[in-house]
Subunit: 302 residues, 2 copies
Amino acid sequence: MAILVVGSVAYDTVETTRERRERQLGGSASFFAVAARGRGPVRCVGVVGDDFRESDLGLIRSSGARTDGIVRRPGASFHWSGRYHADMIERDTLATELGVFADFQPEIPRDWLDSEYLFLANIHPTLQAQVLDLVTGPRLVALDTMNLWIETTRPQLLEVLARVDVLLVNDGEARMLTGERSLARAAAAIAAMGPGRVIIKKGEHGALFFGRDSVLAVPAIILDDVVDPTGAGDSFAGGFMGSLAEAGATRGDGDAVFRRAMIDGTVTASFCPEGFSVEGLMGVTDESYARRKAVLEGMMIP
Amino acid sequence: MAILVVGSVAYDTVETTRERRERQLGGSASFFAVAARGRGPVRCVGVVGDDFRESDLGLIRSSGARTDGIVRRPGASFHWSGRYHADMIERDTLATELGVFADFQPEIPRDWLDSEYLFLANIHPTLQAQVLDLVTGPRLVALDTMNLWIETTRPQLLEVLARVDVLLVNDGEARMLTGERSLARAAAAIAAMGPGRVIIKKGEHGALFFGRDSVLAVPAIILDDVVDPTGAGDSFAGGFMGSLAEAGATRGDGDAVFRRAMIDGTVTASFCPEGFSVEGLMGVTDESYARRKAVLEGMMIP
Protein backbone atom coordinates (compact mmCIF):
# COMPACT_ATOMS: atom_id res chain seq x y z
CA MET A 1 0.00 0.00 0.00
CA ALA A 2 1.25 3.45 -0.95
CA ILE A 3 2.84 6.02 1.32
CA LEU A 4 2.49 9.69 0.52
CA VAL A 5 5.16 11.97 1.99
CA VAL A 6 4.92 15.74 1.89
CA GLY A 7 8.04 17.61 2.95
CA SER A 8 11.19 19.36 1.89
CA VAL A 9 13.49 18.35 -0.94
CA ALA A 10 16.59 20.38 -0.39
CA TYR A 11 20.30 20.92 -0.66
CA ASP A 12 22.36 20.65 2.50
CA THR A 13 25.84 22.05 2.99
CA VAL A 14 27.28 20.08 5.86
CA GLU A 15 30.52 20.67 7.68
CA THR A 16 31.98 18.22 10.15
CA THR A 17 35.37 18.32 11.84
CA ARG A 18 36.65 16.04 9.09
CA GLU A 19 34.96 17.12 5.89
CA ARG A 20 32.71 19.61 4.18
CA ARG A 21 30.10 18.70 1.59
CA GLU A 22 28.45 21.37 -0.55
CA ARG A 23 24.86 21.18 -1.71
CA GLN A 24 24.28 17.49 -1.23
CA LEU A 25 20.81 15.96 -1.47
CA GLY A 26 18.84 16.64 1.71
CA GLY A 27 15.35 17.45 2.93
CA SER A 28 12.85 15.48 4.98
CA ALA A 29 11.03 13.94 2.02
CA SER A 30 14.30 12.81 0.43
CA PHE A 31 15.58 11.03 3.54
CA PHE A 32 12.14 9.57 4.24
CA ALA A 33 11.76 8.19 0.74
CA VAL A 34 15.21 6.66 0.47
CA ALA A 35 14.89 5.19 3.97
CA ALA A 36 11.56 3.53 3.16
CA ARG A 37 13.40 1.54 0.43
CA GLY A 38 10.49 1.14 -1.90
CA ARG A 39 8.22 -0.31 0.75
CA GLY A 40 4.89 1.27 0.17
CA PRO A 41 5.80 2.40 -2.53
CA VAL A 42 6.62 5.98 -1.56
CA ARG A 43 5.19 8.98 -3.39
CA CYS A 44 7.00 12.26 -2.82
CA VAL A 45 5.40 15.69 -2.84
CA GLY A 46 7.66 18.73 -2.65
CA VAL A 47 9.18 21.61 -4.57
CA VAL A 48 12.65 22.28 -5.96
CA GLY A 49 14.20 25.21 -7.82
CA ASP A 50 15.62 25.25 -11.30
CA ASP A 51 19.08 24.63 -9.82
CA PHE A 52 18.09 21.16 -8.65
CA ARG A 53 20.02 18.41 -10.38
CA GLU A 54 17.91 15.83 -12.18
CA SER A 55 20.41 13.26 -10.93
CA ASP A 56 19.40 14.02 -7.33
CA LEU A 57 15.76 13.29 -8.13
CA GLY A 58 17.14 10.16 -9.74
CA LEU A 59 18.80 9.24 -6.42
CA ILE A 60 15.42 9.37 -4.71
CA ARG A 61 13.82 7.32 -7.49
CA SER A 62 16.56 4.72 -7.34
CA SER A 63 15.20 3.74 -3.91
CA GLY A 64 11.91 2.83 -5.53
CA ALA A 65 10.12 6.09 -4.71
CA ARG A 66 8.12 8.18 -7.16
CA THR A 67 9.03 11.85 -7.61
CA ASP A 68 6.18 13.00 -9.90
CA GLY A 69 4.88 15.14 -7.03
CA ILE A 70 8.10 17.13 -6.75
CA VAL A 71 7.44 20.22 -8.84
CA ARG A 72 10.12 22.48 -10.22
CA ARG A 73 9.74 26.25 -9.82
CA PRO A 74 11.91 29.13 -11.04
CA GLY A 75 14.34 30.13 -8.32
CA ALA A 76 16.71 28.45 -5.89
CA SER A 77 16.07 25.18 -4.07
CA PHE A 78 15.76 25.18 -0.28
CA HIS A 79 19.32 25.28 1.06
CA TRP A 80 20.34 24.50 4.62
CA SER A 81 23.88 24.89 5.81
CA GLY A 82 25.22 23.71 9.15
CA ARG A 83 28.33 22.81 11.08
CA TYR A 84 28.53 19.86 13.47
CA HIS A 85 30.53 20.04 16.67
CA ALA A 86 33.13 17.39 17.42
CA ASP A 87 30.51 15.35 19.34
CA MET A 88 28.56 14.97 16.06
CA ILE A 89 25.36 15.82 17.95
CA GLU A 90 25.35 19.56 18.57
CA ARG A 91 25.27 21.64 15.44
CA ASP A 92 25.11 25.26 14.42
CA THR A 93 22.88 26.35 11.58
CA LEU A 94 24.92 28.67 9.38
CA ALA A 95 22.23 29.50 6.84
CA THR A 96 18.64 28.63 5.97
CA GLU A 97 17.72 29.85 2.50
CA LEU A 98 14.11 28.88 1.82
CA GLY A 99 14.16 29.73 -1.90
CA VAL A 100 11.17 28.27 -3.73
CA PHE A 101 10.20 26.42 -0.54
CA ALA A 102 8.98 29.73 0.92
CA ASP A 103 5.93 29.59 -1.37
CA PHE A 104 5.47 25.83 -1.26
CA GLN A 105 1.88 24.79 -1.91
CA PRO A 106 1.60 21.01 -1.91
CA GLU A 107 0.18 19.76 -5.19
CA ILE A 108 -0.81 16.14 -5.04
CA PRO A 109 -1.18 14.19 -8.28
CA ARG A 110 -4.82 13.12 -8.55
CA ASP A 111 -4.07 9.40 -8.58
CA TRP A 112 -2.06 9.74 -5.36
CA LEU A 113 -4.95 11.14 -3.33
CA ASP A 114 -6.01 7.68 -2.21
CA SER A 115 -2.58 6.80 -0.74
CA GLU A 116 -3.16 4.60 2.29
CA TYR A 117 -0.38 6.08 4.44
CA LEU A 118 0.47 9.72 4.86
CA PHE A 119 3.59 11.22 6.39
CA LEU A 120 3.40 14.95 6.96
CA ALA A 121 7.04 15.86 7.37
CA ASN A 122 8.14 18.96 9.21
CA ILE A 123 6.47 21.84 7.29
CA HIS A 124 4.09 24.66 8.25
CA PRO A 125 1.08 23.15 10.05
CA THR A 126 -1.33 24.99 7.75
CA LEU A 127 0.21 23.19 4.78
CA GLN A 128 -0.03 19.92 6.68
CA ALA A 129 -3.76 20.61 7.21
CA GLN A 130 -4.21 21.43 3.51
CA VAL A 131 -2.80 18.03 2.59
CA LEU A 132 -5.19 16.37 5.04
CA ASP A 133 -8.07 18.21 3.36
CA LEU A 134 -7.05 16.85 -0.04
CA VAL A 135 -6.44 13.17 0.64
CA THR A 136 -9.29 10.69 0.70
CA GLY A 137 -9.27 8.76 3.94
CA PRO A 138 -5.78 7.37 4.53
CA ARG A 139 -5.51 4.39 6.87
CA LEU A 140 -2.93 6.15 8.97
CA VAL A 141 -1.44 9.64 9.25
CA ALA A 142 1.85 10.50 10.98
CA LEU A 143 3.16 14.01 11.52
CA ASP A 144 6.52 15.52 12.38
CA THR A 145 7.00 19.08 13.58
CA MET A 146 9.61 21.29 15.22
CA ASN A 147 10.17 24.00 17.83
CA LEU A 148 9.65 26.78 15.24
CA TRP A 149 6.02 25.73 14.62
CA ILE A 150 5.39 25.02 18.30
CA GLU A 151 6.48 28.55 19.11
CA THR A 152 5.11 30.55 16.19
CA THR A 153 2.03 28.67 14.92
CA ARG A 154 0.71 26.88 17.99
CA PRO A 155 -3.05 27.22 17.23
CA GLN A 156 -2.60 25.86 13.69
CA LEU A 157 -0.40 23.06 14.99
CA LEU A 158 -2.96 22.04 17.62
CA GLU A 159 -5.65 22.02 14.95
CA VAL A 160 -3.76 19.64 12.69
CA LEU A 161 -2.59 17.49 15.61
CA ALA A 162 -6.22 16.71 16.40
CA ARG A 163 -6.45 15.04 12.97
CA VAL A 164 -3.42 12.73 13.00
CA ASP A 165 -2.70 9.28 14.42
CA VAL A 166 1.01 9.44 15.24
CA LEU A 167 3.17 12.37 16.27
CA LEU A 168 6.95 12.17 15.98
CA VAL A 169 8.91 14.77 17.94
CA ASN A 170 12.16 14.93 19.84
CA ASP A 171 12.27 15.14 23.62
CA GLY A 172 12.84 18.89 23.73
CA GLU A 173 9.92 19.52 21.40
CA ALA A 174 7.63 17.23 23.42
CA ARG A 175 8.46 19.22 26.54
CA MET A 176 8.02 22.54 24.75
CA LEU A 177 4.69 21.51 23.26
CA THR A 178 3.24 20.37 26.58
CA GLY A 179 5.14 22.24 29.28
CA GLU A 180 5.72 18.89 30.98
CA ARG A 181 9.19 17.89 32.09
CA SER A 182 8.36 14.20 32.49
CA LEU A 183 8.23 12.50 29.09
CA ALA A 184 5.48 10.20 30.39
CA ARG A 185 3.34 13.22 31.22
CA ALA A 186 4.30 14.97 27.98
CA ALA A 187 3.24 11.93 25.95
CA ALA A 188 -0.07 11.73 27.81
CA ALA A 189 -0.68 15.42 27.19
CA ILE A 190 0.07 14.99 23.47
CA ALA A 191 -2.27 12.00 23.26
CA ALA A 192 -4.99 14.24 24.70
CA MET A 193 -4.36 16.65 21.81
CA GLY A 194 -5.28 13.98 19.27
CA PRO A 195 -2.48 11.61 18.22
CA GLY A 196 -3.22 8.27 19.84
CA ARG A 197 0.41 7.29 19.47
CA VAL A 198 3.45 9.42 20.29
CA ILE A 199 7.05 8.76 19.35
CA ILE A 200 9.70 10.73 21.19
CA LYS A 201 13.04 10.70 19.40
CA LYS A 202 16.16 11.05 21.54
CA GLY A 203 18.94 10.82 18.96
CA GLU A 204 21.86 8.75 20.21
CA HIS A 205 19.68 7.61 23.15
CA GLY A 206 17.09 6.01 20.92
CA ALA A 207 13.35 6.58 20.84
CA LEU A 208 10.32 6.06 23.04
CA PHE A 209 6.96 4.83 21.82
CA PHE A 210 3.87 5.71 23.81
CA GLY A 211 1.05 3.57 22.47
CA ARG A 212 -2.54 2.98 23.38
CA ASP A 213 -1.70 0.73 26.31
CA SER A 214 2.05 0.15 26.20
CA VAL A 215 5.37 1.94 26.20
CA LEU A 216 8.44 0.76 24.28
CA ALA A 217 11.97 2.13 24.63
CA VAL A 218 14.20 1.36 21.67
CA PRO A 219 17.90 2.13 22.06
CA ALA A 220 19.84 3.59 19.19
CA ILE A 221 22.24 1.13 17.61
CA ILE A 222 25.72 2.10 18.77
CA LEU A 223 27.82 3.17 15.82
CA ASP A 224 31.59 2.99 15.65
CA ASP A 225 31.70 6.03 13.46
CA VAL A 226 29.32 8.90 12.71
CA VAL A 227 29.93 10.67 9.40
CA ASP A 228 26.85 12.91 9.10
CA PRO A 229 23.78 12.56 11.32
CA THR A 230 21.63 14.90 9.19
CA GLY A 231 18.37 13.22 8.24
CA ALA A 232 18.42 10.42 10.83
CA GLY A 233 15.04 11.48 12.23
CA ASP A 234 13.39 11.44 8.80
CA SER A 235 15.09 8.13 8.07
CA PHE A 236 13.51 6.77 11.24
CA ALA A 237 10.13 7.95 9.99
CA GLY A 238 10.74 6.30 6.60
CA GLY A 239 11.59 2.97 8.19
CA PHE A 240 8.68 3.27 10.61
CA MET A 241 6.05 4.09 7.98
CA GLY A 242 7.50 1.58 5.52
CA SER A 243 7.10 -1.10 8.15
CA LEU A 244 3.49 -0.12 8.87
CA ALA A 245 2.62 -0.02 5.16
CA GLU A 246 4.20 -3.41 4.58
CA ALA A 247 2.14 -4.80 7.46
CA GLY A 248 -1.03 -3.09 6.27
CA ALA A 249 -1.48 -1.47 9.68
CA THR A 250 -4.42 0.77 10.50
CA ARG A 251 -5.05 3.21 13.33
CA GLY A 252 -7.46 0.70 14.83
CA ASP A 253 -4.75 -1.92 15.34
CA GLY A 254 -3.26 -2.70 18.72
CA ASP A 255 0.20 -1.52 19.70
CA ALA A 256 2.07 -4.63 18.49
CA VAL A 257 2.45 -3.60 14.84
CA PHE A 258 3.61 -0.13 15.90
CA ARG A 259 6.18 -1.62 18.27
CA ARG A 260 7.58 -3.68 15.40
CA ALA A 261 7.65 -0.55 13.26
CA MET A 262 9.71 1.19 15.98
CA ILE A 263 12.34 -1.51 15.49
CA ASP A 264 12.33 -1.01 11.73
CA GLY A 265 12.56 2.76 12.16
CA THR A 266 15.54 2.39 14.48
CA VAL A 267 17.36 -0.11 12.27
CA THR A 268 16.77 2.09 9.23
CA ALA A 269 17.88 5.29 10.98
CA SER A 270 21.12 3.66 12.09
CA PHE A 271 22.44 3.55 8.52
CA CYS A 272 21.88 7.26 7.88
CA PRO A 273 24.74 8.75 9.97
CA GLU A 274 27.24 6.34 8.42
CA GLY A 275 27.46 8.42 5.26
CA PHE A 276 26.89 11.93 3.99
CA SER A 277 23.45 12.80 2.61
CA VAL A 278 21.54 9.60 1.72
CA GLU A 279 24.73 7.61 1.04
CA GLY A 280 24.49 5.52 4.20
CA LEU A 281 20.88 4.63 3.39
CA MET A 282 21.62 3.83 -0.26
CA GLY A 283 24.06 1.11 0.73
CA VAL A 284 21.54 -0.90 2.77
CA THR A 285 20.94 -4.45 1.58
CA ASP A 286 18.51 -7.06 2.87
CA GLU A 287 21.50 -8.77 4.46
CA SER A 288 22.97 -5.71 6.20
CA TYR A 289 19.47 -4.79 7.36
CA ALA A 290 18.81 -8.23 8.85
CA ARG A 291 22.22 -8.27 10.52
CA ARG A 292 21.64 -4.93 12.18
CA LYS A 293 18.12 -5.86 13.24
CA ALA A 294 19.58 -8.89 15.02
CA VAL A 295 22.10 -6.61 16.77
CA LEU A 296 19.29 -4.33 17.94
CA GLU A 297 17.18 -7.20 19.23
CA GLY A 298 20.23 -8.53 21.06
CA MET A 299 20.57 -5.14 22.72
CA MET A 300 16.93 -5.12 23.79
CA ILE A 301 15.93 -8.58 24.97
CA PRO A 302 17.02 -9.04 28.59
CA MET B 1 26.72 -14.76 49.66
CA ALA B 2 28.00 -11.55 51.22
CA ILE B 3 28.64 -8.25 49.49
CA LEU B 4 31.27 -5.91 50.87
CA VAL B 5 30.87 -2.24 49.94
CA VAL B 6 33.53 0.37 50.64
CA GLY B 7 32.48 3.95 50.07
CA SER B 8 31.21 7.15 51.58
CA VAL B 9 28.64 7.47 54.34
CA ALA B 10 27.68 11.10 54.31
CA TYR B 11 25.25 13.89 54.88
CA ASP B 12 23.72 15.57 51.85
CA THR B 13 22.06 18.96 51.81
CA VAL B 14 19.88 18.93 48.73
CA GLU B 15 17.95 21.79 47.24
CA THR B 16 15.39 21.35 44.49
CA THR B 17 13.03 23.92 43.04
CA ARG B 18 10.39 22.66 45.46
CA GLU B 19 12.17 21.83 48.67
CA ARG B 20 15.38 21.90 50.63
CA ARG B 21 16.58 19.10 52.87
CA GLU B 22 19.44 19.62 55.33
CA ARG B 23 21.92 16.91 56.23
CA GLN B 24 19.95 13.91 55.13
CA LEU B 25 21.55 10.47 54.91
CA GLY B 26 23.67 10.17 51.78
CA GLY B 27 26.90 8.66 50.50
CA SER B 28 27.60 5.90 48.01
CA ALA B 29 27.77 3.09 50.57
CA SER B 30 24.47 4.16 52.15
CA PHE B 31 22.53 4.20 48.88
CA PHE B 32 24.19 0.98 47.74
CA ALA B 33 23.35 -0.85 50.96
CA VAL B 34 19.73 0.24 51.17
CA ALA B 35 19.24 -0.48 47.46
CA ALA B 36 20.58 -4.03 47.81
CA ARG B 37 17.72 -4.71 50.28
CA GLY B 38 19.49 -7.32 52.33
CA ARG B 39 20.42 -9.46 49.36
CA GLY B 40 23.92 -10.57 49.96
CA PRO B 41 23.79 -9.56 52.86
CA VAL B 42 25.60 -6.25 52.55
CA ARG B 43 28.53 -5.29 54.77
CA CYS B 44 29.37 -1.58 54.82
CA VAL B 45 32.83 -0.12 55.31
CA GLY B 46 33.15 3.63 55.75
CA VAL B 47 33.79 6.44 58.19
CA VAL B 48 31.53 9.00 59.88
CA GLY B 49 32.19 11.88 62.26
CA ASP B 50 30.94 12.30 65.79
CA ASP B 51 28.03 14.36 64.42
CA PHE B 52 26.55 11.34 62.65
CA ARG B 53 23.19 10.29 64.02
CA GLU B 54 22.97 6.73 65.26
CA SER B 55 19.46 6.68 63.76
CA ASP B 56 20.95 7.16 60.29
CA LEU B 57 23.15 4.11 60.73
CA GLY B 58 19.95 2.45 61.89
CA LEU B 59 18.31 3.39 58.58
CA ILE B 60 21.04 1.54 56.71
CA ARG B 61 20.72 -1.45 59.04
CA SER B 62 16.96 -1.56 58.62
CA SER B 63 17.54 -2.61 55.01
CA GLY B 64 19.32 -5.72 56.26
CA ALA B 65 22.86 -4.36 55.87
CA ARG B 66 25.57 -4.55 58.53
CA THR B 67 27.28 -1.31 59.59
CA ASP B 68 30.03 -2.70 61.86
CA GLY B 69 32.59 -1.55 59.32
CA ILE B 70 31.51 2.08 59.53
CA VAL B 71 33.91 3.59 62.06
CA ARG B 72 33.30 6.79 63.97
CA ARG B 73 36.10 9.38 64.14
CA PRO B 74 36.30 12.73 65.93
CA GLY B 75 35.29 15.50 63.55
CA ALA B 76 32.56 16.22 61.02
CA SER B 77 30.99 13.69 58.67
CA PHE B 78 31.47 14.08 54.93
CA HIS B 79 28.96 16.72 53.83
CA TRP B 80 27.89 17.39 50.26
CA SER B 81 25.59 20.19 49.37
CA GLY B 82 24.02 20.75 45.96
CA ARG B 83 21.21 22.44 44.10
CA TYR B 84 19.28 20.81 41.29
CA HIS B 85 18.11 22.77 38.27
CA ALA B 86 14.45 22.66 37.26
CA ASP B 87 15.18 19.75 34.89
CA MET B 88 16.19 17.65 37.94
CA ILE B 89 19.26 16.47 36.04
CA GLU B 90 21.77 19.29 36.02
CA ARG B 91 23.02 20.26 39.45
CA ASP B 92 25.47 22.67 41.01
CA THR B 93 27.66 21.54 43.86
CA LEU B 94 27.52 24.23 46.52
CA ALA B 95 29.93 22.65 48.99
CA THR B 96 31.98 19.52 49.49
CA GLU B 97 33.27 19.26 53.06
CA LEU B 98 35.28 16.06 53.34
CA GLY B 99 35.56 16.12 57.16
CA VAL B 100 36.73 12.78 58.54
CA PHE B 101 36.44 11.29 55.04
CA ALA B 102 39.63 13.15 54.06
CA ASP B 103 41.67 10.67 56.13
CA PHE B 104 39.55 7.63 55.38
CA GLN B 105 41.52 4.40 55.65
CA PRO B 106 39.22 1.44 55.00
CA GLU B 107 39.27 -0.95 57.97
CA ILE B 108 37.64 -4.23 57.17
CA PRO B 109 36.42 -6.43 60.03
CA ARG B 110 38.45 -9.67 59.91
CA ASP B 111 35.42 -11.90 59.38
CA TRP B 112 34.34 -9.80 56.38
CA LEU B 113 37.56 -10.35 54.43
CA ASP B 114 36.15 -13.42 52.70
CA SER B 115 33.09 -11.58 51.33
CA GLU B 116 32.28 -13.09 47.96
CA TYR B 117 31.30 -9.83 46.24
CA LEU B 118 33.08 -6.53 46.46
CA PHE B 119 31.83 -3.13 45.39
CA LEU B 120 34.46 -0.42 45.41
CA ALA B 121 32.36 2.72 45.38
CA ASN B 122 33.69 6.01 44.11
CA ILE B 123 36.71 6.73 46.37
CA HIS B 124 40.41 7.39 45.73
CA PRO B 125 41.79 4.57 43.55
CA THR B 126 44.67 3.98 45.97
CA LEU B 127 42.14 3.19 48.71
CA GLN B 128 40.29 0.93 46.29
CA ALA B 129 43.56 -0.92 45.65
CA GLN B 130 44.22 -1.21 49.40
CA VAL B 131 40.87 -2.94 49.84
CA LEU B 132 41.71 -5.33 47.02
CA ASP B 133 44.99 -6.14 48.81
CA LEU B 134 43.11 -7.02 51.99
CA VAL B 135 40.27 -9.21 50.77
CA THR B 136 40.78 -12.90 50.14
CA GLY B 137 39.68 -13.79 46.65
CA PRO B 138 36.18 -12.41 46.03
CA ARG B 139 34.17 -14.07 43.27
CA LEU B 140 33.53 -10.72 41.63
CA VAL B 141 34.74 -7.13 42.01
CA ALA B 142 32.95 -4.07 40.64
CA LEU B 143 34.29 -0.54 40.75
CA ASP B 144 32.85 2.93 40.36
CA THR B 145 34.90 6.05 39.77
CA MET B 146 34.50 9.66 38.67
CA ASN B 147 36.03 12.44 36.56
CA LEU B 148 38.09 13.71 39.53
CA TRP B 149 40.07 10.46 39.75
CA ILE B 150 40.32 10.12 35.97
CA GLU B 151 41.88 13.56 35.80
CA THR B 152 44.03 13.65 38.92
CA THR B 153 45.02 10.03 39.68
CA ARG B 154 45.02 8.34 36.31
CA PRO B 155 48.02 5.99 36.88
CA GLN B 156 46.57 4.73 40.18
CA LEU B 157 43.16 4.32 38.58
CA LEU B 158 44.57 2.31 35.67
CA GLU B 159 46.41 0.10 38.15
CA VAL B 160 43.27 -0.76 40.10
CA LEU B 161 41.16 -1.10 36.93
CA ALA B 162 43.43 -3.95 35.83
CA ARG B 163 42.27 -5.88 38.92
CA VAL B 164 38.49 -5.57 38.70
CA ASP B 165 35.77 -7.41 36.78
CA VAL B 166 33.14 -4.71 36.21
CA LEU B 167 33.51 -0.95 35.81
CA LEU B 168 30.53 1.32 36.29
CA VAL B 169 30.90 4.84 34.90
CA ASN B 170 28.69 7.42 33.24
CA ASP B 171 28.96 8.25 29.56
CA GLY B 172 31.03 11.39 30.06
CA GLU B 173 33.48 9.55 32.30
CA ALA B 174 33.82 6.68 29.82
CA ARG B 175 34.70 9.20 27.12
CA MET B 176 37.10 11.06 29.38
CA LEU B 177 38.83 7.87 30.49
CA THR B 178 39.38 6.61 26.95
CA GLY B 179 39.35 9.66 24.70
CA GLU B 180 36.82 7.86 22.52
CA ARG B 181 33.61 9.61 21.48
CA SER B 182 31.83 6.39 20.44
CA LEU B 183 30.60 4.50 23.50
CA ALA B 184 31.23 1.21 21.69
CA ARG B 185 34.87 2.16 21.23
CA ALA B 186 35.10 3.55 24.75
CA ALA B 187 33.76 0.30 26.20
CA ALA B 188 36.24 -1.73 24.14
CA ALA B 189 39.10 0.49 25.31
CA ILE B 190 38.02 0.07 28.95
CA ALA B 191 37.79 -3.71 28.54
CA ALA B 192 41.37 -3.62 27.31
CA MET B 193 42.33 -1.90 30.59
CA GLY B 194 41.10 -4.88 32.60
CA PRO B 195 37.38 -4.94 33.43
CA GLY B 196 35.83 -7.62 31.25
CA ARG B 197 32.44 -6.00 31.66
CA VAL B 198 31.63 -2.32 31.39
CA ILE B 199 28.43 -0.56 32.43
CA ILE B 200 27.86 2.92 31.08
CA LYS B 201 25.21 4.81 33.04
CA LYS B 202 23.24 7.47 31.17
CA GLY B 203 20.84 8.72 33.85
CA GLU B 204 17.36 9.31 32.46
CA HIS B 205 18.43 7.53 29.25
CA GLY B 206 19.19 4.27 31.05
CA ALA B 207 22.36 2.21 30.98
CA LEU B 208 24.42 0.20 28.55
CA PHE B 209 26.06 -3.11 29.36
CA PHE B 210 29.08 -4.19 27.35
CA GLY B 211 29.69 -7.84 28.16
CA ARG B 212 32.05 -10.51 26.96
CA ASP B 213 30.12 -11.13 23.76
CA SER B 214 26.93 -9.10 23.99
CA VAL B 215 25.61 -5.60 24.49
CA LEU B 216 22.42 -4.74 26.36
CA ALA B 217 20.69 -1.35 26.45
CA VAL B 218 18.33 -0.92 29.38
CA PRO B 219 16.09 2.15 29.35
CA ALA B 220 15.41 4.04 32.53
CA ILE B 221 11.91 3.57 33.83
CA ILE B 222 10.00 6.77 33.05
CA LEU B 223 8.94 8.44 36.26
CA ASP B 224 5.99 10.77 36.62
CA ASP B 225 7.78 12.73 39.27
CA VAL B 226 11.41 13.15 40.33
CA VAL B 227 11.90 14.32 43.89
CA ASP B 228 15.66 13.89 44.37
CA PRO B 229 17.88 11.97 41.94
CA THR B 230 20.91 11.93 44.29
CA GLY B 231 22.16 8.38 44.75
CA ALA B 232 20.44 6.78 41.76
CA GLY B 233 23.77 5.55 40.35
CA ASP B 234 24.76 3.89 43.62
CA SER B 235 21.27 2.45 43.91
CA PHE B 236 21.75 0.93 40.48
CA ALA B 237 24.99 -0.62 41.70
CA GLY B 238 23.24 -1.98 44.80
CA GLY B 239 20.51 -3.63 42.77
CA PHE B 240 23.03 -4.94 40.26
CA MET B 241 25.39 -6.47 42.83
CA GLY B 242 22.49 -7.76 44.92
CA SER B 243 21.18 -9.58 41.87
CA LEU B 244 24.58 -11.12 41.11
CA ALA B 245 25.07 -12.21 44.73
CA GLU B 246 21.61 -13.75 44.86
CA ALA B 247 22.41 -15.67 41.66
CA GLY B 248 25.86 -16.69 42.93
CA ALA B 249 27.47 -15.25 39.80
CA THR B 250 31.21 -15.41 39.18
CA ARG B 251 33.44 -13.59 36.75
CA GLY B 252 33.71 -16.78 34.71
CA ASP B 253 29.98 -16.84 33.95
CA GLY B 254 28.55 -15.89 30.58
CA ASP B 255 26.80 -12.57 30.03
CA ALA B 256 23.28 -13.83 30.81
CA VAL B 257 23.45 -13.42 34.60
CA PHE B 258 24.93 -9.93 34.20
CA ARG B 259 22.17 -8.95 31.76
CA ARG B 260 19.59 -10.00 34.34
CA ALA B 261 21.46 -8.00 36.96
CA MET B 262 21.22 -4.92 34.69
CA ILE B 263 17.44 -5.25 34.88
CA ASP B 264 17.56 -5.50 38.67
CA GLY B 265 19.88 -2.51 38.87
CA THR B 266 17.55 -0.44 36.71
CA VAL B 267 14.40 -1.42 38.59
CA THR B 268 16.12 -0.68 41.90
CA ALA B 269 17.49 2.67 40.77
CA SER B 270 14.05 3.80 39.60
CA PHE B 271 12.79 4.02 43.17
CA CYS B 272 15.60 6.27 44.36
CA PRO B 273 14.57 9.58 42.71
CA GLU B 274 11.01 9.21 44.01
CA GLY B 275 12.01 10.38 47.47
CA PHE B 276 14.67 12.39 49.25
CA SER B 277 17.73 10.53 50.55
CA VAL B 278 17.00 6.79 50.80
CA GLU B 279 13.27 7.31 51.33
CA GLY B 280 12.26 6.13 47.87
CA LEU B 281 14.34 2.96 48.31
CA MET B 282 13.02 2.27 51.81
CA GLY B 283 9.46 2.04 50.56
CA VAL B 284 10.15 -0.77 48.08
CA THR B 285 8.19 -3.97 48.65
CA ASP B 286 8.38 -7.29 46.81
CA GLU B 287 5.10 -6.32 45.14
CA SER B 288 6.13 -2.83 44.01
CA TYR B 289 9.43 -4.27 42.80
CA ALA B 290 7.75 -7.00 40.75
CA ARG B 291 5.28 -4.51 39.29
CA ARG B 292 8.01 -2.17 38.17
CA LYS B 293 10.10 -5.00 36.76
CA ALA B 294 7.12 -5.98 34.61
CA VAL B 295 6.86 -2.37 33.41
CA LEU B 296 10.53 -2.35 32.45
CA GLU B 297 10.29 -5.64 30.59
CA GLY B 298 7.24 -4.32 28.75
CA MET B 299 9.34 -1.33 27.68
CA MET B 300 12.14 -3.55 26.42
CA ILE B 301 10.69 -6.56 24.63
CA PRO B 302 9.78 -5.58 21.07
